[in-house]
């Protein structure tokens, strides 16, 4: 028996053989997945690929308001339809059926988008598995799963592991102590996680884990000092930094914070005169390539050159701020607070945080008869239905908001 998935918090251990039983015996499938249990999400993905059925993944953290704005009913995740008739004999056949599945098969997922509302991205199987490497030498790899499985990075780990029949050990919602035990227990060899996760969970490990041979990260700035400190816990691990965007998947790789565009990608990726990385339409998911003007998709990610052809990422050009890996538009949050009767004016800005990149700070000016405590509770109520990362974590009640700050503001350094 080869382990497919372990989730100790939910007491789930599923082998590839049991997975195949689940896939072949299922009578119903969910065309739209909205659940907190990662294993259910991954099984629905496989059912959809093998049956050539479209599938939509909704982040379980999406609020009801977000679901409504995307056109979904709150109970959309409970709707089912007949499952496809799947015949698979053994794990090797599962892999070959995925490899031979329709390349045009489409998975719909959502990126945080350019307006703060999640925007739809349709990814083909070819796009989702473009950076997967399959080789007999990888058969003894053991992965941790440290992402939200509805996010692109999580899907990358999923396809890499499944196509090599590797186990995945779920550690996303686990404490550092539990993670250390799981790495030991399962002999984990490969870790892929966001820099925030490395900082808050993996950097805290006090033991040494010699089985780990690869640490992969991406998505946010990854400081060299973090890499250095991880070396103590993972002395045998090589480091890989991946630049990926939901609209196009993995695009660049490096062994640190400095990247270069490889020769085979030189016609598909380029740095503009304004130092922004742009991506050719041939690399984009279909729904995105329909929307862009011209041939190039603007990522909004700015770089600085360290020599003639190597560069590092320095930030984003837009008003958006990165809060723990999520893109947030402070204007959107501000609008919610400004809609409260007792509040005369509100300004929401980002404040730099060494933990999450940024957090939101709200400055509010209230009617004279409203106390500070009531004002704060009104603000919390106003944003209560937004995702947690959009909540202002500091609320300052002020006598008068400086009018010069309510116009176009610099929201935080380096954006």
């Amino acid at each position: 028996m080869t382990l497919f998935w372990a989730d100790n918090q939910r007491d789930i251990q599923l082998s590839y053989e049991e997975l195949i039983e689940e896939l072949t015996e299922r009578e119903e499938r969910h065309p739209v997945v909205y659940t907190e249990d990662p294993s259910k999400i991954l099984i629905e993905i496989l059912l959809a690929i093998l049956g050539d059925n479209d599938l939509t993944l909704l982040d379980s953290e999406f609020s009801e308001d977000t679901l409504t704005s995307l056109g979904y009913e709150p109970d959309v995740g409970s709707k089912t339809e007949s499952a496809p008739d799947i015949q698979i004999e053994d794990p090797e056949e599962l892999v070959s059926q995925i490899e031979n599945a329709n390349d045009e098969w489409t998975l719909t997922l959502y990126t945080s988008g350019t307006t703060g509302t999640p925007s739809q991205v349709d990814q083909s199987l070819e796009g989702l598995t473009r950076s997967v490497r399959k080789d007999e030498r990888f058969s003894d790899h053991v992965w941790v799963f440290a992402y939200n499985p509805t996010h692109f990075a999580g899907l990358q780990v999923f396809f890499q592991a499944v196509l090599n029949l590797n186990p995945m050990i779920y550690i996303f919602e686990h404490s550092s102590g539990q993670i250390g035990d799981l790495i030991d227990q399962y002999g984990v060899t490969h870790i892929s996680a966001t820099p925030t996760f490395y900082r808050l969970r993996l950097q805290q490990l006090s033991d040494t884990y010699e089985t780990v041979v690869r640490l992969t990260s991406g998505g946010e700035k990854f400081e060299p000092s973090l890499q250095e400190s991880l070396r103590e816990s993972f002395p045998n691990a090589k480091f890989r930094n991946v630049y990926a965007i939901t609209e196009a998947g993995s695009l660049l790789e490096s062994d640190g914070e400095v990247f270069r565009i490889s020769d085979d990608r030189s016609n598909q990726l380029k740095i503009t005169e304004d130092n922004e990385l742009v991506v050719h339409e041939s690399l984009l998911g279909r729904s995105v390539s329909d929307e862009i003007d011209g041939e190039w998709f603007h990522t909004g990610d700015l770089v600085e050159y360290v020599d003639d052809d190597r560069f590092r990422f320095v930030g984003r050009e837009s008003d958006f701020v990165n809060i723990g890996g999520y893109r947030v538009n402070p204007h959107e949050v501000e609008k919610f607070i400004n809609s409260v009767d007792d509040i005369e004016a509100a300004v929401v800005t980002a404040r730099e945080s060494s933990v999450t990149g940024n957090i939101l700070v709200a400055e509010v000016q209230v009617r004279e008869d409203v106390s500070t405590d009531v004002a704060k509770s009104r603000v919390k109520d106003a944003v209560g239905d937004l995702e947690r990362w959009k909540h202002p974590r500091v609320i300052d009640v002020v006598e008068k908001i400086d009018q010069s700050r309510s116009g176009k503001r610099v929201r935080s350094e380096g954006e």
Binding site: L200, Q204, S229, S353, S354, V355, V361, R393
Partner: protein, 80 residues
């Protein structure tokens, strides 16, 4: 224990209780033992830690996460 440390511990406790009050399934703390872990014992996530940090920075002018990750109460107090 110096008066200064006692005051800092009390300030930290108040900040943490304000954060815990907003979290579902979290209860307030009466004491803050040195060995208490902010993540494992109190269940704070990255957003909670970021909030705690800015309040401490406003009060003491120190970004406790600037150079390294701290997790135990004693480590936080040592930074202040």
């Amino acid at each position: 224990m110096s008066q200064d440390t006692i005051r800092k511990r009390e300030t930290l406790k108040n900040i943490l209780n304000d954060i815990l009050a907003e979290k579902e399934e979290a209860s307030q703390v009466d004491t803050l033992p040195d060995a208490m872990s902010l993540t494992d014992d109190l269940g704070l996530d990255s957003l909670d830690l970021a909030e705690m940090t800015v309040h401490l920075e406003d009060k003491y002018g120190v970004d406790i996460f600037e150079d390294e990750i701290v997790d135990k109460v004693s480590e936080v107090l040592n930074k202040l």
